[in-house]
């Protein structure tokens, strides 16, 4: 992995993920981004090459970002704050998902065709499964 966790900090305001804290972090982004943009701007490659390079680039970015996020240390106060804000965000998302499913179910039923977006249901059940597994693991672990 290339990115050093010391160059970044967790995004607290305006989303999830990380953002650069030091000039090395900005340099890292430039080094990752500029060659990719230049590659895409050049006319020499066919669509298949572009697609494979994009997949590789996105995969690397995801892996490196995950590595940085996992390695970023938080003290107990930060962990508490993050847990509470993530919980609040999760509640809003669950509420909106549930309202969305209900809206789709009712509006489609009124038109005599029952149709609900499967991804909304998967998201809701996925969240439920993750919550259940988390509770099972955390209740057994010494916190």
């Amino acid at each position: 992995m290339i990115g050093n966790p010391k160059w970044f900090e967790r995004r607290k305001y305006g989303g999830w993920g990380i953002h650069p804290k030091t000039w090395q972090g900005w340099l890292y982004i430039a080094i990752i981004l500029i060659p990719f943009v230049m590659f895409q701007a050049l006319p020499y490659w066919d669509n298949e090459t572009r697609m494979y390079v994009t997949i590789g680039w996105v995969a690397f970015l995801l892996l490196d970002t995950t590595h940085i996020m996992v390695a970023l240390k938080r003290d107990e106060r930060e962990s508490k704050i993050e847990s509470m804000s993530e919980r609040n965000a999760a509640w809003v998302m669950v509420l909106i998902l549930a309202v969305g499913i209900l809206y789709e179910a009712i509006s489609s039923a009124l038109q005599q065709t029952f149709k609900v977006n499967i991804f909304l249901i998967i998201a809701l059940f996925g969240g439920m499964i993750v919550k259940t597994i988390s509770n099972i693991i955390l209740e057994r672990r010494a916190l």
């Binding site: 003290d75 107990e76 106060r77 930060e78």
Partner: protein, 64 residues
């Protein structure tokens, strides 16, 4: 909850940053601890008391 962290820290000539480094937290956490605006875990309270060579009872004053 009130704390005497600032007083003990001054006695040992430690800055907030020094204490934070000793107990493995961010300086902001020490700031909030000193203001009595953060309820630490027993582990952190123990670590802070140990770093300031005192006891939890001496350091943290719990109101009734």
């Amino acid at each position: 909850m009130k704390t005497r962290i600032k007083e003990f820290r001054a006695r040992h000539n430690l800055t907030q940053e020094d204490l934070a480094r000793k107990v493995g937290v961010r300086r902001e956490t020490i700031v909030f601890l000193e203001k009595g605006k953060y309820n630490p875990s027993l582990q952190l309270a123990h670590d802070v008391a140990k770093a300031l060579k005192t006891t939890i009872e001496e350091l943290f004053i719990f109101g009734k």
